[in-house]
């Protein structure tokens, strides 16, 4: 069975698909986490919210509408979170941040239950992507290919913005020393606010993309949080390269681990994480500095 090429292609695509979903999620977190040095454990909850928003809006205006609405809805929540909590916690150190956002997880978990109920919702796959395509002799769901493409596209856009533009340098300068950045005429507050919103929007997008693939439940954010954190820590905080590398590693280890060594699958990934942290305490591709 394992000698069959089609099997490997199929699993390879599965790995890639999982990687890209995680990438969409972790890139938002890494942007916030790495650039603002803000530890946002509630990122998973934003993802869940994105899924709910997409499912709700999708029911009214269709999948594509939902896909569009979700990032904005989550970014809007991001605005509230930023103004109420994050702005004041930016300098408080990782422990306080971990705890505030840990608290937010539970608050948002219960809020989703109050608003949408405890039962699972679903979001249908759009008609356009409902079929399957054949690549390399393997039939593969079109929607999953869409997820892969979307992940790659977002990666490209972000790499361009952060690496090649002045904005990227401004953000990093603000991270290093916000007072000095301000003394150089950079509106640090506004910039971070935007960064945070973009990070939230990306979480919302990830949720919207995941909704038709998975079930939409209140605890979906909690479930995805640990894998996302692992991705970021393996890759290295704050670097786009790290987010993509971490996602790919996670996707491959998880997918092939589950198939080839089912009894060790989940320990495998934690072991890998521990090994990375021992050998490279700041992850594989830490941000410069």
């Amino acid at each position: 069975m394992q000698a069959d090429l089609g099997f490997w292609v199929l699993q390879g695509l599965n790995a890639l698909q999982l990687s890209m979903l995680l990438f969409l999620l972790s890139v938002g977190l890494t942007v916030i986490f790495g650039l603002m040095h803000f530890v946002n454990l509630a990122h998973g909850s934003l993802y869940a919210l994105g899924a709910y928003a997409a499912a709700t809006a999708g029911a009214a205006i269709g999948f594509w509408g939902g896909l569009l609405v979700a990032p904005f809805a989550v970014a809007a929540l991001g605005v509230v979170l930023y103004l109420v909590f994050i702005r004041r916690m930016r300098r408080a150190g990782p422990m306080a941040q971990v705890l505030v956002t840990f608290g937010l997880i539970f608050v948002m978990l219960d809020l989703t239950r109050i608003v949408w109920g405890a039962q699972a919702l679903s979001a249908p796959v759009p008609a356009l992507l409902d079929g399957r395509l054949t690549i390399l002799g393997v039939e593969y769901p079109a929607y999953r290919l869409f997820v892969i493409a979307l992940g790659l596209a977002i990666w490209g856009v972000l790499a361009l913005v952060l690496g090649r533009t002045q904005i990227g340098a401004m953000i990093r300068a603000g991270v290093d020393n916000d007072s000095m950045a301000a003394c150089m005429g950079i509106d640090v507050e506004k910039m971070f606010f935007l960064v945070f919103c973009v990070g939230c929007a990306l979480a919302g997008l990830a949720g919207a993309v995941a909704a038709p693939l998975l079930s939409v439940t209140p605890d979906m954010g909690l479930q995805i949080l640990i894998p996302t954190l692992i991705v970021i820590v393996i890759g290295g905080l704050g670097s786009l390269k790290g987010a993509i590398a971490g996602s790919l590693i996670y996707g491959v280890v998880q997918t092939f681990g589950a198939v080839l060594f089912p009894q060790f699958a989940s320990i495998l990934i934690y072991g890998l994480l521990a090994a990375v942290l021992i050998l490279r305490p700041a992850g594989l591709f830490p941000a410069k500095g």
Partner: protein, 371 residues
Amino acid sequence: QAEDIKVGLLLPFSGVYAALGEEIETGFRLGLDTFGEGSGASFEIVREDSEASPPVGLAKTRKLVMQDKVDVMAGVVSSGVLGAIRDVVDGAKVPLIVANAGNDEATGEACSPWITRMSFSNQQVNRPMGKYLVDQGITKVFTIGADYAAGQQMIGAFAEAFKAAGGEIVGQEFTPFQKTQDFGPFLAKAKSSGAQAVYAFYAGGEAISFVKQYDSFGMKDALPLYGAGFLTSQLYVDAQGRAAEGVVTALHYVPTIDNEANRQFVEAFKVKAGHLPSEYAVHGYDAARALVEAVKSGATDRETLGAALQKTSFDGPRGATAIDPATNNIVQPIYVYQIVAGEGGAQTQKVLSQLPAEADPVNGCEMALIN
């Protein structure tokens, strides 16, 4: 002289199983309202949140038993909680009506005269499907399920019966419980296993993801999907949508069962909750009815209630249900059903076959009768 019965309702109202807790509570309260009238007793409910966590469930049980001094307990969704509190209720001699947790031991080696189960047991739901599949001409099956005690018992019971009937298990996969969101890798494995069908057990969010992903890989045509009925339970079928159509599973209750008691129950439940009842709702409903019947038979305190509960028997929404005196487990018919498109495009359960009620093997249970 109106009797006052204090009921401790132990259910998860927060955490992953909160939806089930809600469903059971609604059913339980509906049951008390429906049947309680003529009983001459008033029922006081003390509800406690088990958070689906064994230590919490245990602490709450001790509180209900020692401090609130309840006459009877009902509820318990997760088998872990049931395992944890078993010794306490048994030791304190408090009757407990189990309204969900299906682990086989609870009415097997770890059975207790004080624990009566009005829901199901894991093997009970799956065993009949072994023979049923062979009867349908399916002899090679790939099984897949969540990797925890219930998953193993469900799949195990099916596999045993299936093999006994002459079938062959060509592949078996247990996926990390509540940690698997992407079933793609396992589905690819099933596809290349050479099986004629897949038999699955999942519940909750996993059931929804699994059925949807099974469909998206286009596997339903080549490899029909069978499973324990929780897979396409009423609670999830709306979210699964068209992906669930054609899946054949077996369960002790679906809202489309055709009998008078069920029609009344479905009507009343819909009025109360705004949606169709699931099997969890009927667990709560029947647990309440068992309690009321016990009171009607003259029981008033822990001991008499416990004794009366062991003799429960009535025709309810699931058909003829009774407690097996050998194990205190429920004996009930099992319904094989398929998800089909109903009127208005919504999915509904079409009962294909009603398999006769069959008591579980005693399995090391030495049941003492109270009194």
